[in-house]
Structure formats: structure tokens, C-alpha cells
């Protein structure tokens, strides 16, 4: 693989000065960073909401807030974390930064569209967050009708926000698809494409195909609130279950928008720190696409008890089973990749371990919810809450942290404090399991989700869960501190500290404004290590 070594002090960070040079930049790396900081701010807000929710639940009865305040707290936690954090987190932030680098391109196909998507995102998010200062919103992030039609809270604003943010997601999708089709470096054939790019490719396809539907759905819901168009409102002869179909046709694929990029990152990390190529490259790539496509035909498994027809229940339960097959292939292949490797225990790899551990649990509990009979008992309970946190937080967030630690030296040319990082990884991993494992038991024992108050027999498990949430919170704080410290004071990192072979490491750290002085020519697969 050809490496381009040119050494001028100029990089994308110091290439031009002044706030305007950032706000108006067309450089995918700067846009990626702006996304990163913005998303992390929302992550903080959503996280605070989460801690409040957990703290309220530390004991039965009222602890710190009223029932209405609690309903708003979990609504904001859900809405912010889904629409403003996990969906843009990896594709828009890390993806924007590293996709062109991994392709050996100078930028994404449409830099202006890229910047536009950022501002669209900001304005949508602003719309949604404004409601914090109005009378809030208490529908839950699913906006189920008819409650979302009746509630007096300013739900309309949040719906508008979701509508607008949808377009930023679509723009990113369009951009990535074309970039991958048209801007790959010479010799970078489809079967030499890094799996992170494959993941982003699949994600983008979902974004383009699914997001417009939620846009329309929230649009209809807004009209329903404004004029009562009677499509979803039973009082006007509408069908509330139809809304759930519309909602989940997007929101189930959206779950894969959230997790597939995470899988992509793990696919990058494990080979690098095992010093060997990924096990079953083709199977990995195919599996990613398998998941992405099946994602579109399983949404009804969110509706097994919604009074949808038994035929639909049969089909959706059957098809849902097939999500587990490609997922299993990926998990097994990751483990197999380590076989006969030479494993380095750097922080990114530790996060990969953590990912495998929790994601496996998340995946397996998914089978419980795909099996229709057990779903009837478990759905709408804390079991579901635990399940999707194991996948979203345990999966996506662990992968994201892994990616941050993996690429930080490339993004800022500085190293973070390795020892501190490892201990924090352990803290977050433990805290995560302490928080969410008890919720499986709470759920199977019958505690419904979105409960402000609960029977005393659930007290200990809830208290345990709340304590765990503090560990996670502390963990993220520490990460934030040492990462930001690293940017300014961390020791300088060389251009390829992990001796990785994908293209983003073939350019100086931080990368120069136009990525590659000479367009690299690819001659072999992405993970060929010979050391």
C-alpha cells in the first residue's frame, strides 16, 4: 500500500484561522469535528436527563420530581439520544471525518451539501430543544397516537425538529453513497474497501430509504394536531395502529442506522490490534448488507401486542428471526479474527472486548423479543429497555468510544493518557452492566417501562440500576476530561501509532487540508499486516 509522506506543518486545523473559517468550511474534517462537538453537547443534555430519570427511580413514590416532570425527562432523554445523538454520532461525526480519508479522496462528493446538512441538523435540533423552555413535551420519543394528538405540551415543535433533522440525515446519506461510488482511490476496488466504509455505505442506504418516511409521518402527525385530518385519530375515524406502522417503518431501520457504523468501527479495531486480517472479509461485508436489508421488513415486531393482525404477527416474528443470522456471523467472525493473532491490549481493543461482551447479550435478548410468545410477556417492560440499551449504549456507544480512542491521535496528532483510559474503560463497562442488567430482571418480573412509580418488590433492583448510572456518568466525565486535556497537552503522536494499514493512516496526523498530497494507489486488501 503506497504511503504519501509529505511534511509541512500545515494541517486542517491550522490551515486557516478564525471562527468564520470553521462556520463556513467545506472541509469534511472540520465539518466532522463540528458535528462531533455539537452531538457531544446534546449527549451531555440527554445524559443529564437520563441521570435524573434514574435518580427519580431510586425509590418508589416521589423522589425528586413530579410525575409530569418525570414523563418529560424520559421523553427528552429518548428524543435527544435517538435523533440528536446516536443517529448522527458515528456517521456524521467520525464518518464525515474518516470516510474520504479511508477512500483516499480529497473530500466528500458534495462538500456544500455536507455543510448544509450540518446547519439543517442544528436548526432542527434547536427547534426540538426550544421546547425545554416552553412547556416541554411528554409523549415519549415514539409519539404514539392518540396521546401525542391530545397532549397539551408543545409536541408540535419537537415533531418539526425531527422533520428537519431528518433531512440532514438524508443529505449525509446521499453524500456518502455518491462518495463511495465515485471517489475511491485508484485500485481501491469493492473487495478492498475497509469494512468501516461498507458499514457507512449500508447506513447511508438506510438513511436515504427510511428517513423520508418518518419525515412524512411526523408531518401528518403535525397536521393531525393542527387540523385533525383523521388519519391517525380514532375520534375522527383514524387508526392509531397505522401510525405505529408508519413510525416503525423508519424507526426500526433507524436502529440499524445506529448500530451498523458501530460494527464498522469494531471491524477496524479488532484486525489492527490482532495484527492480522479480518476473518471472512466477504461474509462480514455481506452480513452488514444482510442486516441493512432485513431491517426494512421486520418493523412489526414492535407491534406484537398492538392489535395488529395475527398474520402480520406471524410474518414479522418469522422474518425477525433472520436478523440474528448475519449478526451472529459478524460476532463469530470477530472472535475468529483474534484466533492466532498477536493481540495488543491498547484502549481501543479493550472497548472492542467490552463491545463483544455487551453486544452479544443485547443480540441474544433480541431473540427473546423476536419470539412472539415471549414478546407478549416482555414487551413494554424494562426488559425491552435493558435490551435496546445493551445494543445502543453497550454496542454503539462502546464502539464510538473505541473509535474515538483509535482515531484521536489521527484527528489531533496527540495521545491521551493510556493508563487512565484503560481504567475508565473498565469503570464504564462495569457501570453499564450494573445499570442495565438488573433491568432485564425487572422486566421479566413485570415492571412496565415509563413508570414513574413502582411496587416495593422492585426497589432493590432499581436502586442498583441507579447506582450503576452514576458509575457510567462518572466514566464519561473522566473520558471527556482526559481527551480534551490530550488535545492541548497530550504527547505528540506519530502519523500511524497503531501501525494500521488503511489509507487514513498513510497521511500525517493531523491530516493536511486536502488529505493527500499525492492521490494514493491501493494495491492490496485493507488489513494486510506483515509484522
Amino acid at each position: 500500500m503506497s504511503t504519501t509522506t509529505h511534511d509541512s506543518g500545515s494541517n486542517y486545523l491550522n490551515h486557516s484561522k478564525g471562527i468564520m473559517s470553521w462556520l463556513g468550511t467545506l472541509d469534511h474534517k472540520r465539518i466532522g469535528l463540528m458535528y462531533l462537538w455539537t452531538v457531544l453537547v446534546f449527549f451531555f443534555i440527554g445524559g443529564v436527563a437520563a441521570l435524573l430519570v434514574r435518580y427519580e427511580l431510586i425509590a418508589p413514590g416521589q423522589t425528586i420530581m413530579s410525575a409530569d416532570a418525570y414523563n418529560k425527562a424520559f421523553t427528552y432523554h429518548g428524543t435527544i439520544m435517538v435523533f440528536m445523538v446516536i443517529i448522527p454520532l458515528i456517521p456524521a461525526a467520525l464518518g464525515n471525518f474518516f470516510l474520504p480519508l479511508q477512500l483516499g479522496a480529497k473530500d466528500v462528493a458534495f462538500p456544500r451539501l455536507n455543510l448544509a446538512s450540518y446547519y439543517v441538523f442544528i436548526s432542527g435540533a434547536a427547534l426540538a430543544v426550544t421546547t425545554l423552555f416552553l412547556n416541554g413535551v411528554d409523549t415519549g420519543w415514539t409519539f404514539y397516537t392518540p396521546y401525542s394528538i391530545r397532549t397539551g405540551t408543545s409536541a408540535t415543535w419537537v415533531l418539526m425538529g425531527a422533520f428537519v433533522m431528518g433531512f440532514s440525515s438524508i443529505f449525509t446519506g446521499i453524500n456518502f453513497i455518491v462518495t463511495i461510488h465515485k471517489l475511491r482511490a485508484p485500485g481501491l476496488t469493492w473487495n478492498r474497501l475497509p469494512l468501516f466504509c461498507w458499514a457507512l455505505y449500508a447506513t447511508s442506504i438506510i438513511q436515504v430509504l427510511a428517513t423520508p418516511v418518518i419525515a412524512l409521518t411526523v408531518f401528518l402527525l403535525t397536521l393531525e394536531r393542527a387540523f385533525g385530518i383523521g388519519i391517525f385519530d380514532p375520534k375522527l375515524g383514524g387508526d392509531p395502529v397505522l401510525f405505529q406502522h408508519f413510525f416503525w417503518f423508519y424507526s426500526h431501520p433507524a436502529v440499524y442506522i445506529m448500530i451498523i457504523p458501530g460494527m464498522g468501527i469494531i471491524n477496524e479495531i479488532i484486525p489492527v490490534f490482532s495484527r492480522k486480517t479480518v476473518f471472512g472479509y466477504t461474509a462480514m461485508a455481506v452480513a452488514i448488507f444482510g442486516i441493512a436489508l432485513v431491517a426494512f421488513v421486520v418493523w412489526g415486531h414492535h407491534m406484537f401486542v398492538s392489535n395488529q393482525s395475527d398474520l402480520a404477527n406471524f410474518l414479522f416474528s418469522l422474518i425477525t428471526m433472520f436478523v440474528a443470522v448475519p449478526t451472529g456471523v459478524k460476532v463469530f467472525s470477530w472472535v475468529a479474527t483474534m484466533y492466532k493473532g498477536s493481540i495488543h491490549f491498547d484502549t481501543p481493543m479493550l472497548y472492542a472486548f467490552a463491545f463483544l461482551f455487551v453486544f452479544t447479550i443485547g443480540g441474544l435478548t433480541g431473540v427473546f423479543l423476536a419470539t412472539i410468545a415471549s414478546d407478549v410477556h416482555l414487551t413494554h417492560t424494562y426488559f425491552v429497555v435493558a435490551h435496546f440499551h445493551y445494543v445502543m449504549v453497550g454496542g454503539t456507544l462502546m464502539a464510538f468510544l473505541g473509535g474515538m480512542h483509535y482515531w484521536w491521535p489521527k484527528m489531533f496528532g496527540r495521545m491521551y493518557n493510556e493508563t487512565l483510559a484503560k481504567w475508565t474503560c473498565l469503570l464504564i463497562f462495569l457501570g453499564f452492566n450494573v445499570t442495565f442488567f438488573p433491568q432485564f430482571i425487572l422486566g421479566s418480573r413485570g415492571m412496565p417501562r415509563r413508570y414513574y412509580d413502582y411496587l416495593p418488590e422492585f426497589t432493590e433492583l432499581n436502586r442498583m440500576s441507579t447506582h450503576g448510572s452514576w458509575m457510567i456518568g462518572a466514566g464519561f466525565m473522566i473520558v471527556a476530561i482526559y481527551m480534551i486535556y490530550a488535545i492541548y497537552k497530550g504527547k505528540v503522536a506519530n502519523s500511524n501509532p497503531w501501525r494500521a494499514s488503511t489509507l487514513e493512516w498513510q497521511t500525517p496526523s493531523p491530516p493536511p487540508h486536502d488529505n493527500f498530497a499525492v492521490t494514493p494507489v491501493v494495491t492490496s486488501g485493507p488489513y494486510e499486516y506483515h509484522d
Binding site: P240, F332, I343, L364, V367, I372
Partner: protein
């Protein structure tokens, strides 16, 4: 950590209230063991490889690109297993949906934030329902306002209650005594207060109860958060409790406590505490004395005169509370100084 072992009893599932529940539990424990098996493969494999192939002097990684047979194997085996699991789950679900023609039917109405149960003899109960043991019972459910979810963990049974639709579930209880009912579809402020108690009675109690005689079954274990312990009423008339206790019990069984506390803390509605005889300020600014008449009016036409700072969301209890009940409630309110 006693509570963990206690929580994990029976795979962390609640008591088995019906024959279906026992069959459900065998599927559930099968799923758990399958999960443990695959989890072990992944995590043990990961740990073993991590130790065995850790980076150390003299050790060099072998570049392995894949192993077709192995990959086919771990694609095929899970597929078969998953299809089997699907089949098992579907068979159980089919039983849930096959309604016996001789099932006794009770109509269920969910409204923010209480459950109403209507028997064919016209008897209407709120927040509690009585069924015979060992007889199939069918609940036909609808909602007055928003989505609700009817969930009986002991029967492993759940279904959304949708306004404008009628959905049904059925069960044949084997376990006498009280079974907790939850609302599982988020329905607003007092969502977590929207509970009910399902009492499974033996044949004798059932017949007594049907003919309005007093019965005594296991007392309701509702925690104070939901209004403290209440003995089930020998519906439709009250039992031989003191008037104040009758009132307290009514305030629980009729679901009042979902919205009105007796400790002064405001929920959806004002607390009863110290309300009696006081001048209540109304939404329109005028005042009214909280006395027998206002109590009665508030039960029959709840939204006629709303206390300042609260929403007109209370359903009418016309036809559900007798004048005896009202007297009991009044006595109870008086007792809350």
C-alpha cells in the same frame, strides 16, 4: 445480595397464575439456556484467544483470511435453531388467540387512569376484578381516551387497549388469590398509577361473590405509593369495615388514589388531606366549601367545578358509587385532618 437470588428465582419470572404460564416458562428457560450457551462461546472464546495469542516476544500472528466450511456452519446452525424457536413461540401464541366458546366474558374499559370491568349482569367494578378459578375467562377490552396496555404478569399475558377497537385476551387461572394488573402503554401523568387487582376465587367464594355475599380472600398488597393495603370489597356492597375504612378502601379500589393522595402531596388532583370543611378555590377564582354536596357533585359531575390549578380529567362515577359509598368516602375525608 439476597434480593438478587430472590429475583432470579424461576428465571426471574413472576408466579405462575395459569397453565399457560407454566408452558410459557419452559420456552423462556429454553431461551435462557440457549443464550447462555452462545454467550459462553463468544465470551470464553474471546478471553481464551486474548490470553493465548497475546502479543509477546517470539510470537507472530498468522494471517488467516477465513474458513468457508466454518462460516457455512455458523450460518446454518443458528438459522435452524432460530426457526425452531420461532415455531415454539408461535404455537404458544396460537393458544393465546384461540378463544374457548364457553369463556365467561368480562368487558374491560381503560380510561386515564383507571380500569373498569363490566360483568354481563351489569355489575361494574373499578380497579378490581373477580374471576373463578379453573374456568376460561375472556376479557374484551377497549379504551375511552388514549392507548392503554392490559398486562397480567402472572398469566404472561398482555395486549394494548386501543380506542375505537375491541381487542380480546383470555386465560384460565389456576392460582387462587390476587394477581397484579398493570397499564403498559404510556398514557400520561398517572400511567404508573393505573393498576388493578385481579382476584381468582375458588368455586364457593365465586358463587358467594356473584350473589353479592361478603367474601374474604387474600388482602390487596397495594403499597402506600398506590394507596396502602386494601381488603377486596365483597362487591357490589361493602364489607363489615368501619365507615372510615370502607371509605379508604373505596378510594383505593375505585382508583381515586391514582390521582388523589391522602398525605397532602398533589398528584393529578388535589390531596384529600385537610380538605374537609375548607374553602376550596376554584379555577374561575370563586370559592366553594368542601362539604357533602361538593363531594357528591364532584363524583357525579367531576368537571363542573374544578379546583384551581388542576385539569378537568376526572371521569364521572355516576352509577358506580352508591350513596352508602359516598357516606363512607365522606367519613374517610373527615378523618384526614
Amino acid at each position: 445480595m439476597f434480593f438478587v437470588t430472590e429475583a432470579l428465582a424461576n428465571n426471574g419470572l413472576p408466579q405462575q397464575g395459569s397453565e399457560y404460564a407454566t408452558r410459557f416458562d419452559s420456552l423462556y428457560s429454553f431461551l435462557i439456556w440457549v443464550s447462555i450457551f452462545f454467550f459462553a462461546i463468544v465470551v470464553v472464546g474471546m478471553i481464551v484467544f486474548a490470553i493465548k495469542f497475546r502479543n509477546r516476544p517470539g510470537w507472530k500472528a498468522k494471517n488467516i483470511h477465513g474458513h468457508t466450511l466454518l462460516e457455512i456452519f455458523w450460518t446454518a446452525v443458528p438459522t435452524v435453531l432460530l426457526l425452531a424457536i420461532f415455531g415454539w413461540g408461535w404455537m404458544l401464541y396460537r393458544d393465546l388467540r384461540a378463544f374457548p366458546t364457553d369463556a365467561m366474558e368480562i368487558k374491560v374499559i381503560g380510561k386515564q387512569w383507571l380500569w373498569q370491568f363490566q360483568y354481563d349482569d351489569g355489575r361494574t367494578l373499578t380497579g378490581e376484578v373477580y374471576v373463578p378459578v379453573g374456568k376460561p375467562v375472556k376479557l374484551t377490552m377497549t379504551s375511552d381516551d388514549v392507548l392503554h396496555g392490559f398486562f397480567i404478569p402472572d398469566f404472561r399475558l398482555k395486549r394494548d387497549v386501543v380506542p375505537g377497537m375491541h381487542g380480546s385476551i383470555w386465560f384460565e387461572a389456576t392460582q387462587e388469590g390476587k394477581h397484579q394488573v398493570y397499564c403498559t402503554a404510556y398514557c400520561g401523568t398517572a400511567h404508573s398509577g393505573m393498576l388493578a387487582s385481579l382476584y381468582v376465587l375458588n368455586e364457593k367464594d365465586w358463587n358467594d361473590w356473584k350473589h353479592g355475599k361478603k367474601i374474604n380472600v387474600a388482602p390487596n398488597e397495594l403499597p402506600l405509593a398506590f394507596g396502602g393495603s386494601a381488603a377486596p370489597s365483597a362487591a357490589p356492597q361493602g364489607g363489615a369495615l368501619s365507615l372510615v375504612d370502607q371509605g379508604k378502601k373505596l378510594s383505593q379500589t375505585k382508583g381515586c388514589v391514582a390521582c388523589h393522595s391522602d398525605d397532602g402531596s398533589a398528584r393529578v388532583g388535589p390531596s384529600y388531606k385537610g380538605l374537609w370543611g375548607s374553602q376550596v378555590e376554584l379555577a374561575d377564582g370563586s370559592k366553594v366549601k368542601f362539604d357533602e354536596n361538593y363531594v357528591t357533585e364532584s363524583l357525579y359531575e367531576p368537571n363542573k367545578r374544578i379546583v384551581k390549578g388542576f385539569q378537568p380529567t376526572m371521569p364521572t362515577f355516576k352509577g358506580q358509587v352508591s350513596s352508602e359509598d359516598i357516606n363512607a368516602l365522606i367519613a374517610y375525608f373527615k378523618s384526614l385532618k
